[in-house]
């Protein structure tokens, strides 16, 4: 029945999801092959140490279910992820939800601080040439030092003045995330057309009016583009901040603990948690962007 077959192929749901499903399938297959290849010698070594006879089938099974594989198979990661998300109450230290929330709170606070700092710096730079010349080199320099080197210094210095826990992590996160916002907003605030600027002049608008009625609205698309970059960087900043401090909770702490004890599955499920968190945060920013865009007459 050729009619039925074409109908199935051209169904909008199939059309929309087919490319994604194909890519995911290919990735999973490649991942499984990778898992077999990488874990093979590990598993074989295990069998040989016990001097037990083994078949090819047992060897393959072993690569799929090793306790500390070099590369865990997808189902192991998914299993561990689901167990650590749903298997414990959300406040238990073994729950991934608990760790994700710790990291998320540092991320959001850091993102808020970073966005505020980024916008304030952009405003200062746009309104004063002197500030542009004096601030811009430092802003760029700040991003050239690897955060992994800076983070311990931050923690130690902030710890010395009595700041611990959430705030130092947020500050590291803000330190990373203000940068794309400053760069984006400087571009955004200077994006109005010269004709629009001239119009404001003919109406003898004050510089505050130019800011609120022209520069701000013109900068909105740039704001959302840089917020999307900034919020993922905030998350990375928060995770990195948890690494050198020996933090007890957070996705970074899970990654660190996992690598200490060779718990690769735990590392991977923490990575999945970070990815889920990042996608969720970007989705929220995109949602707000669409809402705001609709109010501002964007063509959709």
């Amino acid at each position: 029945m050729p009619v039925a077959r074409t109908a199935w192929c051209t169904h909008p749901l199939v059309k929309r999801s087919a490319p994604v499903v194909t890519i995911v399938t290919v990735l999973i297959v490649v991942w499984y092959i990778g898992a077999v290849l990488m874990n093979l010698s590990l598993v074989r070594g295990g069998f040989e140490r016990e001097e037990a006879p083994y078949t090819m089938m047992e060897l393959l099974e072993g690569t799929m279910s090793a306790e500390r594989p070099l590369l865990p198979a997808p189902h192991q990661v998914v299993g561990a992820f689901i167990e650590s998300v749903f298997g414990y109450p959300p406040t238990a230290p073994r729950s991934l939800v608990y760790h994700a929330m710790v990291t998320l709170s540092a991320t959001l606070l850091g993102f808020g601080l970073g966005a505020l700092l980024g916008i304030v710096l952009a405003l200062a730079i746009v309104h004063s040439r002197v500030l542009e010349r004096s601030l811009m080199p430092w802003i760029i320099c700040s991003q050239m030092v690897p955060i992994l080197a800076l983070a311990p210094i931050f923690i130690v210095v902030l710890g010395a003045i009595g700041l611990q826990g959430l705030l130092p992590k947020s500050i590291i996160s803000a330190y990373l995330s203000f940068f794309p916002i400053t760069i984006g907003m400087v571009k955004g605030f200077t994006s109005p057309d010269p004709m629009q600027m001239d119009l404001m002049r003919t109406w003898s608008a004050t510089s505050r009016q130019v800011l609120s009625k022209l520069r701000w609205p013109s900068a909105v698309p740039y704001l959302f583009a840089s917020l999307k970059v900034a919020i993922t960087i905030s998350l990375i900043g928060a995770i990195v901040a948890e690494l050198p401090t020996g933090a007890e909770a957070g996705i970074g702490a899970r990654l660190l603990a996992g690598s200490y004890y060779g718990q690769t599955i735990q590392i991977w499920s923490a990575l999945v948690a970070a990815a889920v968190l990042a996608s969720g945060l970007i989705a929220i920013v995109s949602y707000v962007e669409r809402k705001v865009g609709r109010r501002m007459g964007a063509r959709t």
């Binding site: 001239d198 109406w203 608008a205 909105v220 007459g297």
Partner: protein
């Protein structure tokens, strides 16, 4: 109060004997440009955008500035609007300096492009200058409605600029320039980007608007028929250095229609403008 009864002496380097024009307008001088020069420093050296320009415009007149690119017609308009400072000379608008006139919101300016704010609805675009000038919300709404009606765009309040055609957008920008009721309307090739038919239509509408509102209009254009059709006075300009080469009175009745373009009088004036443009070496290259 100075009255424009004495003859206007135009500045011309091309003619040995300066012509003297008698204007029939007796309202006070709206714009007085005296000995204005403006030199730009560019990478290729100095460019004389305006050289010793003298011009007086009476209230209620419709004055067109015509000339080839680079003759300084837009620059002259921008100097009158205080968007650019002259290197020397003085500009008086409604008896004030150009800056005072700008700060006092004495003129509305229409650019080549509509320059509407894309994130604002048509109504909100019209309200923008009113918001800046502190009109009350009810007054803003009334005025937006009145001026949208004036340019025949009632019903488009909630649309966004991209939903309107280029001609409609330009009409919105004219309504916006008029919305705070300035005495002077400065228009810089407002219909340059529109096609011939839309342009004719808008020319007629602009004339009606001018007859209705009795504003003084300064209008920059490339088009000879447009200039002759609209104006009470045509200022012909020439480049390198930017200067006025001829000022032509053009006194068709205010309620003129597009048909006058076929009359011999119209042709004669158009011919004189064309000759003036040629005399300014504008067709040399």
């Amino acid at each position: 109060m100075t009255l424009l009864v004495e003859p206007v002496r135009m500045n011309s380097t091309a003619d040995a004997e300066p012509h003297i024009y008698q204007s029939n307008v007796t309202r006070p001088i709206a714009v007085d440009v005296s000995k204005v020069s403006l030199t730009f420093d560019t990478t290729d050296g100095k460019v004389e955008a305006l050289s010793n320009v003298d011009l007086q415009i009476g209230g209620g007149e419709f004055v067109s500035f015509i000339g080839p690119s680079g003759c300084g017609k837009t620059t002259l308009l921008r100097v009158i609007a205080d968007l650019q400072q002259p290197s020397s000379g003085a500009v008086t608008v409604n008896g004030m300096s150009a800056e005072q006139a700008r700060l006092g919101r004495n003129y509305g300016y229409v650019f080549q492009a509509p320059a509407l704010f894309p994130w604002r609805s048509i109504e909100a675009n019209l309200k923008l200058p009113l918001e800046l000038m502190g009109f009350s919300p009810t007054e803003q709404k009334q005025r937006a409605a009145r001026y949208l009606d004036l340019v025949n765009l009632t019903g488009f309040e909630r649309k966004f600029p991209w939903q309107l055609s280029g001609g409609m957008q330009q009409r919105v920008s004219i309504a916006r320039a008029l919305s705070f009721d300035p005495e002077l309307l400065l228009m810089d090739e407002p219909f340059g980007a529109l096609d011939e038919i839309v342009r004719d239509h808008l020319n007629e509408q602009l004339l009606q608007l001018w007859a209705k509102t009795r504003k003084t209009v300064l209008f920059v254009t490339h088009s000879i028929p447009e200039a002759v059709f609209l104006s009470t006075k045509i200022v012909v300009m020439s480049p390198r250095p930017g200067r006025i080469t001829d000022i032509i009175d053009c006194n068709f009745p205010r309620d003129r229609t597009l048909e006058i373009r076929e009359t011999p009088e119209f042709m004669a004036i158009a011919q004189r403008v064309r000759t003036g443009l040629r005399a300014g070496h504008s067709y040399d290259e």
